[in-house]
Symmetry: none
Subunit: 240 residues, 2 copies
C-alpha cells in the first residue's frame, strides 16, 4: 500500500499560506504536514484561521529546526522548484512525480520553499528528485499554497478516484426511452403539419431529423418528455 507523502514547508513566512496549504492537502486526502522553522513561530493563529476546518492537519503538524531533520525518516523526497539549480538531480514534471510517489513503497515527502525565494540549494540537495510545474514560461511564480494544492490534487487523482457520479446524485426520473422520443416527435410533427410549419415540403424530412437529433442530444428524462408534450399541447390550445 502506498503511504501518503508528507508535505514539508521550509521556512514558510505567512500563516495564511500554511493554513491554505493545510486546506488544500485535506481536500485531497493528505494529512501529514511538517514545518521547518516557520518565520512567525508555531502554533499560528492565522494558519488556523485560514485552514477553514482542516484542523486535523494543522493540529498534527510537526515542527523541525532544519530541513535535514524534517526529512530524516523519509526515504524518497521531492524538492519543488522552478529555478535552475546547479545540482545533478533528475527533474520530473508534477504529473510524473505523483506517479513515482504513488509507486514508491516507503515513506516519501515533498519539499516546498519559502514564499519569496523558494528552496535554496542546500535544501534541494536533500531531495532524490526535483518536481517542477510546466507553467506559462513568462509567468511561473506560483503561490505556496497553490503549489501544494497542485501536488496534492495530482497525487489524489493519480490514485484512481471514483467518477463524479459516485459523489453526485441529481434527482432523475428514468431516462426517456426511444419510444418516448418517438411519441414526442409524432405529437410535434402532427401539430406542426396542422400549423403548416413546413413551407417547403422537400426540407421537411431533414428538419424532422434535426429536431429528433436535438431531442436525443438533450438526453431527456421521461419527465422531460412529458413536459415537452405539455408545452406543445398548451401552445396549440392556448390561442384557441
Amino acid at each position: 500500500m502506498t503511504h501518503q507523502p508528507v508535505i514539508i514547508l521550509v521556512n514558510p513566512q505567512m500563516g495564511e499560506n500554511i493554513g491554505a496549504s493545510a486546506r488544500a492537502m485535506l481536500n485531497c486526502g493528505l494529512t501529514e504536514l511538517r514545518l521547518v522553522a516557520p518565520r512567525d513561530g508555531w502554533p499560528s493563529e492565522s494558519a488556523a484561521a485560514n485552514a477553514a476546518g482542516a484542523d486535523v492537519v494543522i493540529d498534527n503538524a510537526k515542527v523541525y529546526a532544519t530541513t535535514k531533520e524534517a526529512v530524516a525518516d523519509l526515504d524518497f523526497v521531492y524538492a519543488t522548484t522552478g529555478r535552475v539549480h546547479q545540482l545533478n538531480i533528475p527533474i520530473d514534471t508534477a504529473e510524473q512525480a505523483v506517479q513515482r510517489l504513488r509507486a514508491h513503497d516507503g515513506r516519501s515527502g515533498v519539499l516546498f520553499g519559502p514564499e519569496r525565494t523558494g528552496l535554496v540549494g542546500d535544501d534541494v540537495a536533500l531531495a532524490s528528485r526535483i518536481l517542477t510545474f510546466p507553467l506559462n514560461p513568462d509567468y511561473k511564480s506560483l503561490n505556496l499554497a497553490q503549489a501544494v494544492l497542485l501536488v496534492s490534487y495530482l497525487w489524489f487523482q493519480a490514485g484512481g478516484v471514483p467518477e463524479p457520479s459516485q459523489y453526485h446524485r441529481t434527482k432523475k426520473t428514468r431516462p426517456a426511452t426511444k419510444a418516448d422520443l418517438d411519441g414526442l416527435m409524432e405529437h410535434l410533427t402532427t401539430e406542426l403539419d396542422a400549423a403548416s410549419f413546413f413551407t417547403s415540403p422537400n426540407k421537411r424530412p431533414s428538419m424532422l431529423l434535426n429536431l429528433r437529433a436535438a431531442f436525443s442530444r438533450m438526453e431527456p428524462t421521461e419527465q422531460d418528455v412529458l413536459t415537452w408534450r405539455g408545452i406543445i399541447k398548451a401552445l396549440v390550445k392556448g390561442q384557441r
Copy 2:
C-alpha cells in the same frame, strides 16, 4: 484553433481571491477574466495587490451586472460546483471538462460562484455542463482561487490533445450563444404564460430552469434556435 476559456467569477467577495485567481490564470496562460457584481466594487486595491504581477489580467477584467450578461456572447459554459443541484445537467470531472473545452471550437467560459455559497441554481442553469472536482468526499470545500487554479492548470496541461468534438454537425452554422438561448427562453416563456401553461405558480421557476437546462444540454446551433422559435410561432398561430 481553441480559444482560451473565459474565467467568470460570480459575486466574488474578497479582492484577495480575485487577485489570486488572476495570478493562477496567468500562470497557466489564461488572460480573460470577467466579474459579475463583485461585492466590494471594482477596481479593487486588494485584488491588484494579490495579483502579484498578473496586472494584464486584472487591468483587462470586465465587469457585468448579471451572470446572464457575462455569458451572453459565449456558446459553451461550464458551472463549477460541488453541490447537488436539482437540474438535469451533465457533470464532468475537471479533467473531462478541460478536454471538452480544448475540443470546443467557439467561445467558452467557466463559472465560479462566490466564496461562501458557491453558484446558485439560476447561474448553474445557464451552463451547458457542470464541472466538479473529485476531491476528498469528507472535505470538499475548495478556496475560490484554488478552484480557478485547478481548472486553469488542467486546461494548460491538456494543450495539444484535442478530442474529436462531441457531436457531428452536418450544417455548420455557428453554435448558439447564451444570448440566443435567452431570446428563445423569453419567447417560449411569454407564450407559455399566455397559454396558462403553469398551473401551479410556485413550480414555474423550477420548470423554467429545467427547460433552460434542457436547451443548454442540447448545445444548439444558431439555426436550431431559429427553428425552435419558428416552431413556437407556428404552434401558437396555427390554431387561430
